[in-house]
Amino acid sequence: MCKKENLSTVLKSVSKPGRYTGGEFNQIIKKKEDVAVRFAFCFPDTYEIGMSNLGVRLLYEALNREESIWCERVYAPWLDMDEKMREHGIPLTAHESGDVLTDFDIVAFTLQYELCYTTMLHMLDLAGIPMLASERGEEFPIILGGGPCTYNAEPIADFYDIFSIGEGEEALPELCRLYERMKADGSYTKAEFLHAAARIPGFYVPSLYDVRYNEDGTVHSYTPKYADVPKRVKKRIIEDMDKAIYPEKLVMPYIETVHDRITLEVYRGCIRGCRFCQAGMVYRPIREKSPGTLCRQAKCLYENTGYDEISLISLSISDYSRLSELTDGLLSWTNDEHVNLSLPSLRVDSFTEELMEKISTIRTGGLTFAPEAGTQRLRDAINKNVDEEDLLRAVNIAFSAGKSSVKLYFMQGLPTEEMSDLDGIADLAGKVIGTYYKNPKRNKARGVQVTVSVSCFIPKPFTPFQWEAQDDLETLEAKQEYLKDKITDRRIRYHYHNARVSRLEAVFARGDRRLAPALMLAAKEGVVFDAWDECFDYDRWMDIFERTGIDPAFYANRRFGLEECLPWDVIDCGVTKQYLRLEHDRAYQNITTPSCAENCNGCGANKLGGKNRWCK
């Protein structure tokens, strides 16, 4: 590592140098000599995004609670810094120690979205670590992956030694202890370690499976190379959320991050089961924390951070069974301490006047609801379980309280979608405007503003829509144009996502191991930060696919066979394929499925265990 003095000239010449300096309050420093396992926790995006991630905060705590492990943070340098680092041969280093990644025992990446893959490879390259696992000798650290993308990590399987499937708070320290033990008793070689690690529940070692493909390009089979390696890797969960490790302190960034606040995880899982939603399936079974635990954690975090906002995190906060108890407990002190509460994931069917009054960020900020589809028929098909009446009632409460703008999220290109469903989006926005003018308590000084934000459907593994084809690019873009023409009212603002980005995401979401050469070529040619508008280049990607002999339509726009072996069949997320199939069939009959709170639908996640309220 270069001396800080020498780096100063570089730091003074880049944007936001505070991203790179480290030294934050509450960071954890240990003595190298005192630890057995050095763990680099890498976030393949900028510091501002990585520092906001709840998973990183949890695992940083879980790993550093172990005396023999020192977990440090690593982020991707932004373009200007990256250029300087390459120009002057400055390697990628960890925040706490300033040591280069090759000094670590385990280098882990959290894979939050598919479009971070090239950035991840780029970081390996900046650290002088070969991208392909097969080209890394004993001298290189173990490269570990985790996070939501590992539910189908096949496109990046060739780059990784091992993946952690599911929740890592207990699994990662276990992996480190195995490493420590094998190093100590001299039995460690990379191969021996990985073989042993594959026997720990929740670890997937891609090199220990033979993958065969059919002539038509589909997957034929995954076969473990050894008898003691599981045929399918079952995800790990934390049994009791009240006993789960939660940080009492947070590393305090100096520069402003994306979510610069306390994030309080209220529960895991979701009772709803929207058929497009991966999170709603893979985080099952639902496991709640008790209000007592949450209030204690919130107070402790406030005292140790001084943050002025607490955000209640979950997939759908109003589905928390003891929300009133929790908000009352928090509000008993937060107002006096000038701390705001925010509830970022509200459903229209549970939005009440009581919540509107209680929650200051709802009072002061904008309101967002997600009907997802424009007609009741399609909302039933995707199992959104929200009707028009719910939405209009919710916006009416907001308008009565003086709000004059709402934001509505929709999806375009959903399975079974017809043009009339798109008309429904415009109609629904129109009805929201009508509701405003019918409300006698509305803020008459201001006009109403409805923002309609539409994203593109992406078929994701472990959802009832995992077999569905994404609309081809022309159709997606034509549908965007169609809706643009439909929305003529000046009081409706229409935003839509770049369909090309969604298409690339679809390719990697359902990809298999044969995508690796494309990712590697892209990384070598400097493709990075695909999730950033200023970096994303669709045509360049199409060129890369062509040069590596890959047909993106095979992954994004093909309807996968219901009997087909899927690249992610090697993973067991709890919810069974049989259940997903049932839900898939129900979608085509426009039949809804009740929430877990109303009825146990037998999704299969209950076999994972877990202390919770709903599963039978």
Binding site: E5, L11, Y20, F25, H88, M252, G306
Partner: protein, 236 residues
Amino acid sequence: MVQVITDDALLERPRTLRLRFSKVGSLQYISHLDLMRTMTRALIRARLPLWYTQGYNPIPHLVFATPLSVGTESRCEFLDVRIVKNVDSDAVLAAVNATLPQELRILEVYYPETKFNALVYSEYEIKIVSDAIADGYLSQASELLWKKPLTVTKKTKAGIRDVDVSGGIRKLELNQEGNLLQIHAVLAANSAEFLNPELLIRILKEKTGILSGDPMQEYYSILRIADYTEDMARFR
């Protein structure tokens, strides 16, 4: 946790408390807004009885004496906060330092008798290491910096224009040791006139080509070491 409050009764009116602090090392890369956030959170962690603004979105009232550019270190920054209960200044110093990173340190806490507009000059130590600093550089640099008028191009709201900054220099001493140039400067630091020490480096860089080689070998540092009033008494 150090108890800072000496009397639980609310003061009739909020009182101003002054903190002198240093900001060095990595903290030099933290902008004014970032520092504001960092300090606010530290004061809350230290349980100071802060006064909050009374508006729609109440926030603690923090005022910093003079701007400090990103890339400049300092041993004498001043921060005024308003408190609603009496506190023990030694306890505040201990409590706030316990919740700050090492490179941000409170050095002194007191109830001030002056206002920030009495701060007129800042004193700096500037070090430049560059291959372009060779024999005879000292006189070349001295001549350049003592020139009157000393013109620099500045970006202002009115556009780009040339400004004479020589009036902002109260004291200037230069020293050279090998490829190291040291500048000791007292510069205007009030609201009417503020001379950023970076400008001196920029003049030398533009006119003499220093700091344009390998950034891993060439570097500079700026440290603010003291602040003064109009008649060059220590500002407090």
